[in-house]
Symmetry: C2
Subunit: 353 residues, 2 copies
DNA sequence: ATCCTTTCTTGAATCGATTCAATAAAAAGC
DNA sequence: GCTTTTTATTGAATCGATTCAAGAAAGGAT
């Protein structure tokens, strides 16, 4: 019994039954006579056979019972990025309930990603399209498996996706601050990595920001316009959703003659970095500066002070996404879910001028 | 070209070449004449064939290029628990570098877990043995794939595992606090879920705590003995590594006549919950009470005040674990890695009595 | 005793590729 | 011109199971 992989056929031969019967012993035990079943099982144990090999079974059955979650990011992204983490937590919960496994698929560069997507053993994909979403979609489409895109933005309606009411949500965020009395705003946007981060004009923003980011910017502007604040009056800085670029943006913003009293951050991650920068520089949040985020990640709740944010219905998103894959029933049309304002301690009326 | 899955054989027939050649076109293009290769590729494109199906390839190759990470916890554990997260981040980094995928395997109950482990499409397993480790190991062993256990404690030497110097580390933690002048301690241990949490005598602790937890307790006691503090003088409470049980333990501890001035927590998670409880109750950390954790998760660094803790060499652990799986070279003997003391703001001399 | 059911069991086909010994064709060497 | 080497291609075996039509055996009914 050294090694020499025992396979089903060996068991069958040793037990003197056909391979078909041997197979039934394991996959449909009720169909085979008890006496035979026990004999086969006994032989299997003697030979050190531990049930059908998954690879063989897979080839026939064609079902893996796992869904892939893909992103154009390093693998660690799934465990580090707050939004990804929060989303994955929900996805995991749904998968747990349905007994489905999760395979993480990712790669920083195109080429590797293509390979990874093609060779992932999964029944379908959930695509985290934070950046370069179309490429991810194109790659996945070739695999001819069910998939659903998340955070894709206003893309092609032919792409199965679960969208978000980004414009309405951003508008609500801006309105919340404006209602509190703020009139001096700054927007911290999420730009593509590689694109130089930094200040941009509204025109540049409309042109260079993608999907989600652009929608959020439009939402902010739209609401602020109602309060007489024009686009040109709101500095907008692209960041790379990391600390360094956020810090750099804030350096610039707060070096200005009349720095903003309210910061509209396009992600909680950015907002939290911003709050930390403000704390380091001695600005009090919310007394000196109000900060509002976007996403509704758990960290926003535990930060001090709590971060006011627009929460995504992550549980709902996860639920629909997983269901879409498992039932191969992508939503007929791209549905947009609403985000909801959660007011915490990071927003308050502006200081007296 | 509706559906009717095209397979390699179809391409071969359509192109008038043998199946072997068709296979080579995709997997070893350099071996087939350019003219033929292009023709076959052309036909493949026409027929809507996107390269070899992974399942068929898998059956032959036998290699999945993914490693499974398993735990007896719900799937969400990987994204929620700070230690798991920190570890996974490192594992992900190593996998990224080697182009390996990650499959998450988990289940709360035994039965499902057995099924999940048996049907996971992976080349090997990393086992997160926080609890019920032996069962996990037993289950995995049957799969006859390389595996390595993490956080298994002093188990069977025949089990490939990467251990931790828990006793020495815990001793160092306790010594750190004793050196600062503390003499009134309390231990917050990690008990098995299901076991009633709560106060326990040292004898009970030795008996009921498992592996890691027991070693850490032994380490604490050992160091404290050098300072004249006996086991019986150190209340030890089992928690379930969740907020509720930590809060309950602290309620009891601080209701005592002479509450502890130093808390030895067996995980950063517990320590952070404890710090939050203390803050809510108006105890200042570290002025009234010092807290030291264990694990060295990232959250410990960003908490306010920073949490003093014993850091695990997670990167090293991840690196060795992944290597062990990929090379099928489990360490000859169970190696134990050292943890290192990281002093932050949560520990200070005790208040004057 | 005959025929009809039921209940197991069999053997072969199938899933979708890879691999390798054998062969055919072309190029090189003398 | 004939042999040797090189290069491309073929065909069949293989990976490890599942599935299903068909056959055999046992039990029941008449």
């Amino acid at each position: 019994m050294i090694k020499g992989h025992v396979k089903l056929a060996d068991i069958a031969k040793a037990a003197g039954v056909s391979q078909g019967t041997a197979s039934n012993v394991f996959s449909r035990p009720e169909v085979v006579r008890e006496e035979v079943r026990e004999r086969v099982l006994g032989i299997a144990k003697d030979l050190g056979y531990n049930g059908p090999d998954i690879k063989g079974r897979l080839l026939r059955a064609g079902r893996v019972n796992a869904i892939g979650v893909a992103a154009i990011e390093p693998l660690a992204y799934f465990f580090e990025d707050p939004w990804a983490r929060a989303l994955m937590t929900q996805v995991a919960a749904v998968c747990d309930a349905t007994g489905t496994g999760i395979a993480l698929v990712s790669a920083q560069n195109q080429q590797k990603l293509a390979w990874n997507i093609n060779s992932a053993l999964v029944d379908g994909f959930i695509l985290l399209c934070v950046e370069g979403g179309e490429q991810l979609v194109a790659l996945t489409r070739r695999r001819q498996l069910p998939f659903i895109a998340l955070a894709l933005g206003d893309g092609d309606a032919a792409i199965p996706a679960i969208g978000l009411g980004n414009i309405a949500g951003a508008a609500q965020a801006a309105r919340h601050l404006a209602d509190l009395g703020h009139r001096r705003f700054a927007i911290l946007a999420i730009g593509l990595t590689g694109d130089g981060a930094g200040a941009m004009t509204p025109e540049q923003a409309v042109r260079s920001l993608k999907f989600t980011s652009r929608d959020r910017a439009l939402g902010y502007w739209q609401a602020l316009a109602d309060f007489g604040v024009g686009r040109a009056d709101v500095p907008i800085h692209a960041t790379q959703n990391d600390r360094q670029s956020v810090d750099a943006a804030l350096e610039t913003l707060f070096a200005a003659a009349r720095p903003p009293t309210a910061i509209l951050a396009m992600s909680d991650r950015i907002a939290l970095f911003a709050m930390q920068w403000l704390a380091r520089r001695g600005y009090a949040v919310p007394d000196d500066v109000s900060v509002i985020g976007f996403d509704g990640v758990p960290e926003a709740a535990t930060a001090v002070p709590g971060l006011t944010t627009m929460a995504q219905p992550l549980a709902e998103i996860a639920c629909r996404a997983v269901a879409a894959i498992l039932d191969d029933a992508a939503p007929a049309q791209q549905e947009a879910l609403d985000v909801t304002l959660i007011v915490r301690g990071s927003t308050a009326p502006p200081p007296p001028d």
